[in-house]
Structures are given as structure tokens and as C-alpha cells.
Amino acid sequence: MSISFLHAIFKNLQQGGERTACVIEDTSYSYQELHSLTGAIQGKIQRTGSVNIGVITQNAPETYATIIASWLTGKSYVPIPSNYPAERISDIIKTAEISSVFYAAEAEEIDLLKTHFSLLEFVNSTTLPVADCFHVFPPEDKTAYLLFTSGTTGKPKGVPITFGNLQAFLNGFDTLGYNPGVEDRFLQMFDLTFDLSVVCFTKPLICGGSFHTLPTGMIKTLALYQVLQENRITISLMVPSVIGLLLPYLEDIYLPELRVSQFCGEALKKDILEKWMPCVPNARIDNVYGPTEATIYCSSATCNPGKIPHHIGVVGIGKPMQGIGFLLLDETGMVVTEQKVEGELCLSGGQITPGYLRNAEQNELKFFDFNQIRYYRTGDIAFKDRSGNYYYVGRKDDQVKIQGYRIELSELEIAASRILPHCHSIAVGYQFADTWFLALFIKQTSIIESQFQEALKPLLPLYMRPHRIFGVEEIPLNANGKIDRKALKLLAESQHLS
């Protein structure tokens, strides 16, 4: 497979001139400016020893230039948020064998990181020389990016995505019929640790359009509306929960220029989508689905007014994209062939990661061969209808999604047990006002919520920390003697604002 997307980006950087490549913090940057930044950063990247380049996820053109520079130099990037606990950053740096971490702007959090790590390198347009960029052709099995997701053992799992995986995704994207071009303005609302961000900045640079990030220092959902409206976004990919949060204000939203509105990362509810439709009268609306391990997303369902494919109010995940195979396995490991029978969704094709980084145990569990085809077990339970459309019904395990972020509940419980080794704790996801939250129940009534939150800070990133912590006398059990998570969910829902 030829890695043509890199060449397309390179060509646009060279020939895009004054055309806008990105708008970040209300400032436009041209392809020429991005080209120069990328070239200068390539010089620095060439001098680093490791193949994985750490990138502090700041909202700056230099951050994106570092990613592109890594790729054009044939290296991979590893996004690192500066507000992650030092212990977690240290784990990532060690596991990925990173020798350089680039950052774009000085900040308090960076100063703190400098006290822990000596490999931070400053890349800012004010100090970089003007330089041309160059382009190597990496082999398809070389890693393009490495993301760390929540792990059941308490340690994050490294998911490498190769240039071949990414090219396979982009080939599949091209068959969806959006036909993006130089006039398109893409929304980029995701943190760079979230793989949905990759298509939001890569595809515009491939087609010569622009990407638009959310300004920092604003409430994210409100910043999102502002960027959609003021920057006249034409193609957006969002997590459904942002629409859930904007629900009371949807009548104030009218976006006639949005022509593609995609949702991904969480179950999309039909009633919420129906309320969104009048806000985007000229948009094709697609619900796309896929885990990080299968590169960004790998199936798509188009939704039209009055014709939304759904199962008990949850929008379907559609049909697999070109090059992707779906297989359903029942509890005994047998292939489900009947319609409307549930099974664990397993994925195959060119988008599937080669496997978790240095994690033989998880690779053994999550990947298998069937009829000489390699599959990835998603842990998602789904079924297929007679038209070949798939529907997500739930999880096989305790993984939850909060605003699109995957969280293994056991990782939170393990962190809690490090603070109170002898106290049983249970984490649950619960819903309040159509939005998912995380709660932690600890079998100790003397727990002080604010103190426990403080204790969790050095152990878990913010998105993994619970919204509520409750001290209870007993962890409730159901009739089978198992932990009654349903009862805990109900308790968390009723106590959310207590």
C-alpha cells in the first residue's frame, strides 16, 4: 500500500501559499507558515534518537507542525497532556522509549514538568529558523501515532497505529462520499490524546482545506458553538454528549453552512439527533463508530429526518467501511450468523492495530485469527439487521465512556485502593440530564469527598477522576451475591446534586 496521504500533505504545505491551513486561538495560519514551522521542527526531530516523538498537547500551530514534521521525517508522535500526573507521563515516556518531548508554549504546568523530566524541548515560531520541509516515504508497518488508553490493570495501554492503518482509514473515508476540498473548514474539537482528532487535522491538510480548533480558556461546549458559527464550519465530527449539553439551547443554533455533521465516540440517542437536525438543515448526518484499535472509525450510518436507523432509541452504527470486516461471536465463541442475535463485535481489515505495545497478555486476549483473518475483539455487544446494518447494545465488560473518553472502571478502583489499601471501592458510570458521569463508592463512611479527590490527583488524569465520591457502609450485592452496580448507579443518579 502506498502512503499517499503524506505526499498530499507535503504538496499542500509546499504549494498552499497564503491559503488558510488552520485557525487556532482565533488566529489564521497559512500553508506557507505551517510549511516553514514544519521544516524548522523537522531539523530538530532529525537530531533526536528515538522513533517516537513526544508532543505536549497545547493548542498551538507548533503542536500540529511537530506532528506533521514527525510524520514527514518517518517518525511517530505520542500526544502527552501537560496536566497528566507526572507518574503517568513517566510511564508513557518509558513504555514508548521517548527521548524528546516537544512543547510550543511556556506555562506553569510545563515548569512543573521540567522538575520531573529533562527531555523537554521548546519549539516556538519566535525562536525557530525559516526552513523548507522534506519528506521521506515511511514503510506502511511503521507507527504513525501511539495513543495510551485506560487499562484494566491500572497501567495505560499503548495502541500503535501504523502509516498503513491510517492510509487504510483515509481510503475508507474517501468512499463515504463527502468529497472534501479546499473550501472546506473542518472542526477540530478533540484533545490530541483522542484519536478522533487525527482525521480532524489530517484530512483538511490532505485536501487543502483548513481545520479550526476550540479556543482555550472558554467552556468547551460554548467554544464549540462559537467556532461552528463564527468560522462557518462545513465539516464537523463531534461526540454526542456535546449536543446533549447544548440541548436546552438548540433553538438558538442555526448552522446552514455545515454540510457534513458526524457523531462518534459514544452511543448517539435518536431523540437528541432529531433535535439537532433542524439546527443543520443542509448537513448530511452520519453516526460513525470504531475503537482506537481500528483507527479512528470503521463504520458509518447515514441518518435522514424520519429515517434514523435505531434500536430502542440508540442510533445504529451502520455498515463497515471499505476494507473492514465485522464478525459477531456469541458467549461460547461461535460465529453469530442470524439476524437480530447479539454477539461481541470483532473487527478485521487494514485499519486494525498491529497490537498493544509490549503487552503480550492483552494481545493474546484481544486478537485472534479466524479463517486466516486477524480480528480484534472490541468488547462491544452488537447485532445485525436484515439490511446488514449493525446496532450497538452495550459493553461486555465494565468500560464506560465519559464525553467519548474510554475509562476502565477497574483503573479507577485500583487508584482508589492505592490511597486506601484496605477499603473496597467500586466505580460506576451513571447518567444525569442525558449526560454520563463517573462515581466512586468507597466502603468507609468517614470519607471526605474533597480530600479523596485531592489524593486521586497525582494518580489519574482529570477525565478519569470521578465526578462524585460516596462513602458507604456496605457495597450492595444483588440476588446472585454479585456487586449490585445497578443499585449504585441509581444511588449516584439520585445523589448527583446532593
Binding site: 458553538y225 449539553l245 436546552p248 439551547y249 446534586l497
Partner: protein
């Protein structure tokens, strides 16, 4: 309704939404100073404010709101126009 009374009532709402112990309600208080104040909790707090004071905000008003002082001012304006 006076500004100080609104601040007092906002303090109770902030406590129930952000769960961060006692937050001192000043005009300069922003989301950056309260760890649990994010997109999720911001809109939960706004909904709680709307329900408590019996008022309704427009999206544009929420966007230009820069700090707690702006929120107090807006509540006061809305209460006076009811």
C-alpha cells in the same frame, strides 16, 4: 433582589454542582479556578441557576459571560425584567 443575596444563593448552587467545599463567590471567580468546573458541570450549574431563579439564558449570553460577576449581573437583569 440584591447582588449579595444572589451571590449567597449562587454559593449554595456552586457547592452542590462542583463539590469542592466552600467556594468564595467573587466577581472574578472563573472556571479556571475551580477544578471540577468544566463543560459538563458548567451547563449543569447554569441549568440549576435557571431553575432556582426562574429565569432563562440565551446561548449568546452564556458565551459572553466571562466570570461569576457577569453571571450575577445577568441574573439581576433577568430578575428585574420579570
Amino acid at each position: 433582589m440584591e447582588t449579595c443575596e444572589i451571590r449567597l444563593q449562587l454559593g449554595n448552587i456552586f457547592d452542590s454542582v462542583f463539590h469542592c467545599g466552600n467556594i468564595e463567590i467573587t466577581d472574578e471567580l472563573t472556571a479556571e479556578q475551580v477544578e471540577k468546573w468544566d463543560s459538563l458541570t458548567h451547563l449543569t450549574m447554569i441549568a440549576a441557576v435557571e431553575s432556582h431563579f426562574g429565569i432563562r439564558f440565551k446561548l449568546k449570553e452564556l458565551i459572553i459571560m466571562k466570570n461569576t460577576g457577569d453571571l450575577v449581573k445577568l441574573i439581576l437583569e433577568k430578575k428585574q425584567s420579570v
